[in-house]
């Protein structure tokens, strides 16, 4: 049994309760508002998440030992996924963040809501963010 940060656990519970896909999508759309906007002017090849259909960019800062996560995307759904990551990571200590297992998306039911290639896209986003956190922590 994995323990998730409280906000993430809440999110997972809430998401699991919905089984209508439309409801889940709408919920994700709402989560798009949680994202700290990463201005398009700063989008670059470095910030791009590979394997997403539409443009998706993420940016991580670890300042004073806490994670600050910014992101931006064309599609609201992708912004919603970024919202999930925001709720999961924003303000955490790197060690806490790095302890989150990648399959939380599966447990949450996110992967069921997405097609396999979008799931992959989310996984790529997660991996990219984690590796940046790792990089900035070790660096």
């Amino acid at each position: 049994m994995t323990f998730y940060p409280a906000t993430l656990q809440e999110l997972i519970d809430e998401f699991q309760e919905m089984d209508d896909k439309r409801e889940r999508l709408e919920y994700l759309f709402e989560l798009a508002d949680e994202v700290n906007e990463f201005p398009t002017s700063q989008w670059s090849d470095l910030s791009r998440v590979r394997g997403c259909q539409s443009e998706a960019h993420v940016h991580v800062d670890v300042a004073e030992g806490l994670i600050h996560f910014q992101a931006g995307a064309d599609a609201k759904l992708v912004q919603g996924l970024m919202g999930v990551l925001t709720l999961a990571l924003e303000g955490l200590a790197p060690a806490q963040a790095l302890a989150i297992p990648p399959d939380f998306a599966q447990e949450m039911g996110l992967t069921n809501t997405l097609t396999p290639s979008r799931s992959n896209g989310f996984r790529n986003m997660f991996d990219k963010v984690m590796s940046e956190i790792r990089g900035q922590t070790e660096g």
Binding site: D20, K21, R22, R24, L25, F29, Q53, S54, D74, A75, K76, L77, V78
Partner: protein, 397 residues
């Protein structure tokens, strides 16, 4: 039996809602008779074809070749090579005819409306051989610039044109294109992937030299398609892939090739697929394709107008000869989001560049949402789709 009852997949629910399948330009669904034909083949006659004397091999050969015979009759074509699909068919022309007949400085005329499958093979050939590619632009009314087309013909050896655009649904003025091309001695390849599902075509009367299409876009199985070839063009072709079945004799010093279509069908062919496609062709014979086409274009034109009324930009014109393909964009709702919202209610549409990036570049966009209709789609489905779109726009715009 009601047509929809013949398609097992149409009984399916997606995310709790009845499937409304509007991704037919990508691939079509298969009636039960097609699945049965393939299963029966495997359960009863499966064997490798040609050259064997046992009963199963005879049945398999007959099954495979009868697909060719049906295609010859249906399209009035003398030469029908069985391929794995439109893409292989066009690559076959690039290799077998192109490499043997095009040299540095020769021009190939394409259009901006082509599917990637009718662009990339020519780009590869152009790079390898120094052949010049000329692209006919698409005008704001979604038709080809026929003035530039005419001007492009000088020195052209081959003209490659899509019968019907998979993005716009626009059917090109092929008769005129063939006539003008032949007048300058250029051969014509027609990418009919989106044409044959909707139109009855007499290849010989039509007068084109090559015509490629895929079974999976006309209720047939995946993994098979055909290339129709005019006899004079056929005689100019050299082999593409080498292997079993395409040879007459092989020695360590060299080989001689078959002289019929087998020359271009190396290796064990798509036997079960040919049997399935035969069944699909028979099944399609039970329809008045022209009448069905009129019904579907009517639906498409209506949907297009409804979407315009909802504030969408629609790319296409939906004239009587066009396909029932509706490509559109909403000014603020992202296409992928739209497709996800639709999918949540059982509607299957496609988003993205539809393998036609040069066309989209010309239109100044990077993708569309595309709803495409086929034989089993109903007016009621179209209405449900429009109602759903209305709800989405009201809620998410």
């Amino acid at each position: 039996m009601n047509i929809r009852d013949q398609f097992p997949i149409l009984q399916r629910k997606v995310n709790g809602y009845p499937l409304v399948y509007l991704d037919n330009a990508a691939t079509t669904q298969k009636p039960q008779v097609v699945l049965d034909a393939m299963s029966t083949y495997y359960a009863h006659s499966n064997a490798n074809v040609h050259r064997a004397v046992h009963t199963l091999a005879g049945e398999a050969t007959e099954g495979y070749e009868s697909c060719r015979t049906k295609l010859k009759e249906r399209y009035n074509a003398e030469r029908v090579v069985i391929t794995s699909g439109t893409t292989e068919g066009i690559n076959l022309v690039a290799h077998s005819w192109g490499r043997a007949n095009l040299k540095k400085g020769d021009a190939v005329v394409l259009t901006e409306m082509e599917h990637h499958s009718d662009i990339v093979p020519w780009q590869m050939l152009a790079e390898e051989r120094g052949v010049e590619l000329r692209y006919v632009p698409v005008l704001p009314d979604f038709t080809l610039d026929m003035d530039i087309f005419a001007a492009s013909l000088e020195g052209a050896k081959l003209v490659c044109v899509v019968h019907t655009s998979n993005v716009l649904g626009v059917r090109n003025p092929l008769e005129s294109i063939v006539e003008q091309s032949h007048a300058v001695g250029a051969r014509v390849l027609i990418d009919a992937a989106q044409g044959v599902p909707h139109a009855s075509i007499d290849f010989t009367t039509f007068g084109a030299d090559f015509m490629a299409f895929s079974a999976h876009k006309m209720c047939g199985p995946t993994g098979i398609g055909a290339l129709l070839i005019a006899p004079s063009a056929f005689d100019e072709m050299v082999p593409f892939m080498g292997g079993g079945d395409m040879i007459e004799t092989v020695t360590v010093d060299g080989s001689t090739y078959q002289t019929n279509e087998h020359k271009f069908e190396a290796g064990t062919p798509r036997i079960a697929e040919a049997v399935g496609w035969s069944a699909a062709l028979d099944w399609m014979d039970s329809f008045d394709l022209d009448a069905e086409h009129a019904r579907l274009v009517d639906i498409a034109a209506w949907v297009a107008q409804q979407l315009r009324d909802l504030g969408m930009t629609v790319y296409g014109r939906h004239g009587p000869d066009d396909a029932a393909v509706v490509s559109f964009l909403h000014p603020t709702i992202n296409s992928e989001d739209m497709a996800h919202l639709l999918d949540a209610r059982g509607f299957a549409v496609r988003t993205g560049h539809h393998c036609a990036q040069p066309l989209l570049q010309r239109l100044g966009i990077s993708g569309t949402v595309r709803a495409s209709f086929y034989l089993y789609n109903t007016r009621e489905e179209a209405e449900a789709f429009v109602a759903e779109m209305k709800e989405i726009v009201e809620k998410f715009a």
